[in-house]
Amino acid sequence: MILEIRDVVKYFNGFCALSDVGVDVEEKKIHGLIGPNGAGKTTLFNLISGMYDLTRGEIRFKGTCIDGVKPHLRAKLGIGRTFQIVRLFGFMTVLDNVMLGSHCKTKAGLSKTFFRFSIKEPEEEKATRENAMRWLAFVGLSHQAHEIASNLPHAEQRLVEIARSLALDPDLLLLDEPAAGMNPHETEELISLVSKINQMGKAVFLVEHNMELVMGISHVISVLNFGGKIAEGTPAEIQGNSEVIEAYLGKG
C-alpha cells in the first residue's frame, strides 16, 4: 500500500466532516473516490496533502505516519496534488509554474543565485527547465510555455497544474475533479493522460463526478456519503451496489 488511511475523523467546530474513514490506495493503481456533494471527498484530500490536521486517526504514506508533517515536506516525500478550482500562479509564465513544481527537489539558494560570476545559466536551473519542458510536452502544451498562465483557456490551465505536480516526480498523485468544466473531447484526452501517468508507475487517487471517466479508468473505487465510507470495490461492483445507487438517486 502506498497510502493507508485509518479510521480518520475530522471535525470542523463540531461539524463532523469525516467519521472513521479508512481507504487504502495501492501502488501503481488508479483509485477513484466518488460521492455526492459535501460527502467529504475534498476534505479527505486536504488531510492527505496536509492543508488540514486530522482530529483522530492516522494517515500513512509508504508505511510511515505523516500526521503533523508540513505540506511542503509531504510534497518532498512524493505526494503531488491538483486543486478542484485551478490554482496556478496567475501572472507567472506556464514554464515558471511547472519549474516551481520541482522546487523541493532542487537546492539553489539566494547566495548561490547572486554570487555567481559566469553569465551562463547554472546547471541546476537548466536541468529544472528541461525537466519542466519535458512535462509540458507530456501534457501537450510545449507551445504555450512562455504564455502568462492566466491567459490560457480553462482546460489547458488544468493540464499545466497536472504538469506542475508531475514535475515533483510524485509517487502518488491526488487529482481533485480534473475533468470539472471540460468538454467531452477534452475529457477524453484527460482520460488517456491519466492512464499514461499511471503506466509510468505512479499511483493516482482521483476525485471525480464524471462517472464515465471514473468508472472507465479506476481499478478500485471508494464511495463516500455524509462523511462515511459506504462502499468500495471494482467499478462493476460499485455500479451494482444498491446503497450507492440510493445515495445518488434517493430511495426508489
Binding site: H72, G80, R87, F89, L100, C104, L110, T113, L168
Partner: protein, 269 residues
C-alpha cells in the same frame, strides 16, 4: 537620493517598517564610522547586516499575520525605532547625529548599489528562490502544497529586504553627513510604498522606475509651486484607476520581449 525597493513585497508582505530598517542601517553605520573610525564601505555593510538581523527577528512574528495586521506591526516597529532614536543620548537624541564623514563619491556608491540590485533582481527573477517568492506572493497554500517552504521563503525575503533598506540608510547617512530621527518617519516608508506601487509590483523594474519618476516629478513641477503636490496626488489617483498594476507590468516586459525577438528575427531573415 532615495533608493530602496523591496523584496518582502514579492512574497505578499507589505512592510511599513522599511524606514525603520533604513534608520537602523543609517545609525549603526554612523556609529561605526564616527565613534569607532571604521571606513565607509564596511561601516555601511555592518549597518545593512544589522538591519537584516533585526528584520529576521521581526520577521518571525510577522510571518503569522497578513495584510492589514502586518501593516500595523511594521508601522509600530518603524515608530519604535524612531522614538528610540529620539531618546537615545548616545546617538544625539532628537538633536540628531552630526559629523558623519562625507563620502566624496557617495552618489557613485549609490548608483553602484542600484546596479548591483538590478543584477541581483534580474538573476533572482530567473532562479529557484525568485520563483518561490513569486509563488508565495501569488497563492501561499498552493505554493506550500507543491513543496515550497513558505516560512523560510517569507523570512528570507523579509530580512533581505531589511538588509537592503539598511544599506540604503547607511549610504544616505554618509551623504547627508547628519541624521536625525525625523528623517526616518513613517511618511518616508509610505513614500517608498508609493514608489513601488506606482512603478509596478510585478517586476523589479517597476519600483526603480517609480522611484526615478516620482523623485523628479516634484522637481520639474517647481515652476507651479503651490500646486505641485496637488498635481502629484492627482497623478497617483489617475494612475491607480487607469493602471492598477503599476506603470511597468509583466505585460510591458512581454511586449518588449516580443518586439525584441521579432527585431532579431528580421535581422536574420
Amino acid at each position: 537620493m532615495a533608493m530602496s525597493f523591496y523584496l518582502p513585497f514579492m512574497t505578499g508582505q507589505i512592510s511599513l517598517g522599511q524606514a525603520g530598517f533604513m534608520a537602523i542601517g543609517g545609525y549603526v553605520s554612523a556609529i561605526c564610522s564616527v565613534k569607532w573610525g571604521i571606513p565607509y564601505v564596511p561601516a555601511v555593510l555592518i549597518g545593512g547586516v544589522f538591519a537584516g538581523i533585526v528584520g529576521l527577528i521581526l520577521g518571525l512574528p510577522a510571518l503569522r499575520i497578513k495584510g492589514i495586521y502586518l501593516l500595523l506591526l511594521t508601522l509600530g516597529f518603524g515608530e519604535i525605532v524612531r522614538v528610540v532614536g529620539i531618546n537615545l543620548q548616545y546617538v544625539g537624541a532628537a538633536a540628531g547625529f552630526p559629523g558623519i564623514p562625507y563620502q566624496k563619491y557617495t552618489l557613485l556608491y549609490a548608483y553602484g548599489m542600484v546596479l548591483i540590485l538590478i543584477i541581483f533582481f534580474s538573476r533572482l527573477s530567473r532562479s529557484r528562490m525568485g520563483r518561490a517568492f513569486q509563488a508565495v506572493g501569488s497563492d501561499e497554500d498552493a505554493a506550500e502544497i507543491i513543496g515550497v517552504n513558505i516560512v523560510s521563503a517569507k523570512l528570507l525575503a523579509f530580512s533581505v529586504g531589511a538588509f537592503m533598506a539598511g544599506i540604503g540608510g547607511g549610504i544616505f547617512a554618509h551623504y547627508q553627513e547628519y541624521i536625525e530621527p525625523l528623517m526616518f518617519d513613517v511618511m518616508h516608508a509610505i513614500e517608498f510604498l508609493i514608489f513601488t506601487i506606482f512603478g509596478g509590483i510585478q517586476i523589479f523594474w517597476g519600483p526603480i522606475f517609480g522611484a526615478l519618476v516620482l523623485t523628479f516629478i516634484p522637481e520639474f513641477l517647481r515652476a507651479i509651486q503651490e500646486w505641485r503636490m496637488e498635481l502629484y496626488g492627482a497623478l497617483l489617483i489617475v494612475m491607480m484607476i487607469v493602471r492598477p498594476q503599476g506603470v511597468i507590468g509583466l505585460d510591458t516586459v512581454h511586449t518588449l520581449n516580443r518586439l525584441f525577438r521579432n527585431g532579431l528575427g528580421k535581422e536574420r531573415a
